[in-house]
């Protein structure tokens, strides 16, 4: 098993740091999957801890100037490792003004992801290297099957998301009042966020958001455009997802499977993020 990669471009470095910050906000520990063409940050919570799952994908060639890897075997040319996401984002904190970043799989008494940041010193042309060893656990082959890319369910309603910042402040306030929230949408471009408690009912209506064309042939094509599909979810999980979004994505879609799951599909330039929140039982 081998992995080493290098980023030299400042914009790529910035973007990579942003991704790792976002991951740190979304998941405490996550799985990093390394394959010849892609990097994936994966979260798949057990149902007991909320059942949220995340699938974040980066095309390696959009970020790395050098990328070498050798998986567990020739047929299974992949590496799965588990790490504490904050360790990665903390290690990348020093990358503003960095000349380059090297990531390497090492074994220093225990398996590590070694991050070396080459810092540019402003005064001279000399540089300094800061190295972080992030402890990791290699995930054995037999557990890989639990970490497959989640299949996107056939949704009842698919809708473009509004400005995430507005959505975030609404959900933040709603969280002060209620533990769960109803997210509902229809094929007429309407999306509502609702909470209902003994004290108060609050509904925020977003209009004219537009619905992306449906990918699959299914019953929703005959669906009444006014009819809402809804999911009751844990408000904290939704807020966690929204709080992780620092920049507005180029594309943001919400897919709802009535009373089952809500699936968010975001695209930030070179990074795609899928986030699944199951319905509360």
């Amino acid at each position: 098993m081998k992995f080493r990669a290098k980023i030299v471009d400042a914009a790529c470095l910035n973007q990579f740091t942003r991704v790792s910050n976002m991951i740190a906000k979304l998941a405490k520990t996550c799985t990093l999957r390394i394959s010849p063409n892609k990097l994936n940050f994966i979260l798949s919570d057990k149902l007991a801890s909320g059942g949220v799952s995340m699938w974040c994908e980066l095309e390696q060639e959009n970020f790395f100037s050098e990328f070498q890897m050798e998986g567990v075997s020739a047929e299974n040319n992949e590496i799965y490792l588990e790490l504490t996401s904050e360790n990665l984002s903390r290690a990348l904190k020093t990358t503003q003004n960095a000349r380059s970043l090297k990531i390497k799989l090492t074994n220093k008494h225990f398996p590590c992801l070694t991050i070396s940041v080459e810092l540019q010193l402003s005064v001279s042309s000399s540089s300094r290297i800061v190295t972080h060893d992030i402890p990791i656990t290699i995930i054995p082959r037999r557990l890989w099957k639990d970490l497959r890319e989640p299949s996107v369910p056939d949704s009842d309603v698919s809708i473009y998301l509004p400005v995430l910042k507005t959505m975030r402040s609404v959900v933040e306030k709603m969280k002060n009042i209620s533990n769960h929230l109803i997210i509902e949408a229809n094929l007429n471009g309407d999306l509502n966020l609702k909470i209902e408690t003994e004290l108060v009912c609050i509904t925020t209506h977003f209009k004219d958001l537009g619905n992306p064309p449906l990918a699959s042939e299914n019953t929703s094509q005959n669906r009444n455009p006014e009819e809402m599909a809804e999911v009751h979810i844990d408000i904290k999980k939704l807020l966690q997802f929204l709080a992780g979004q620092q920049v507005n994505p180029t594309k943001a879609i919400c897919n709802i499977v009535n009373n089952r799951i809500v699936h968010f599909d975001l695209l930030h330039e070179d990074v795609s993020l899928q986030y699944f929140i199951p319905a509360l039982s």
Binding site: T166, S169, K173, L199, V200, C201, I202, T204, H205, D208
Partner: protein, 279 residues
Amino acid sequence: MPLLTQQIQDENENSLVASLDNVRNLSTILKAIHFKDFATCFATKNGIKVTVENAKCVQANAFIQAEIFQEFVVQEESVTFRINLTVLLDCLSIFGSSPMPGTLTALRMCYQGYGHPLMLFLEEGGVVTVCKINTQEPEETLDFDFCSTNVINKIILQSEGLREAFSELDMTSEVLQITMSPNKPYFRLSTFGNAGSSHLDYPKDSDLMEAFHCNQTQVNRYKISLLKPSTKALVLSCKVSIRTDNRGFLSLQYMIRNEDGQICFVEYYCCPDEEVPES
């Protein structure tokens, strides 16, 4: 738009309808008295008074005059209800507590009357939030019987003069002692905490002192835990009037200028903690 038509139909049935172009002209004032969850609202054709009380010893009132609203209609002589202020404030700031400059949240508030919820319609950038807040049986509020004819001492200060003093009050002291006198030390704030006593004197001719009318030396103590919440009003205000009456009751009136330059008032009443022999 079923939402809007419903709104118009209900118009005549409402005992209170109020609209505001900038919701913060209301929420800011309410934050100044938010030290308990529940508040009582009284609306008359002159405006809305919101009252919060604690321990039967302190009362805070916020006045939002009818002129602050772009539309203000009260069908009955007076409309009274009790409401959860924490929830109301969360609703009013649903689009964010510090929105981006240039974006205003508009508010329309309707109340059909006894037993009905308070309805809020908030709009920012085309997004509409509808809140239905349940109201409760109004409770009798305290009458402090604070009458200007019984006022012994009165001082008007620029708020910045008190701001630091109040935000750094020694909370290990149980009381805040206020001395007002025609003679030295004129106006003194004292605390008696674990680390010792502290006295803060304001000279009568200080630039911060806008008015000084003290007729008689009064030394009164107030529970510091009851007065501390008034700091919320103090930080928002530009001027504060401090008055005590013949029974040692304290009245603090705060003048607050909103984002449109209009003036609103918030007042705190507090009863004295104990009698202190005059020195």
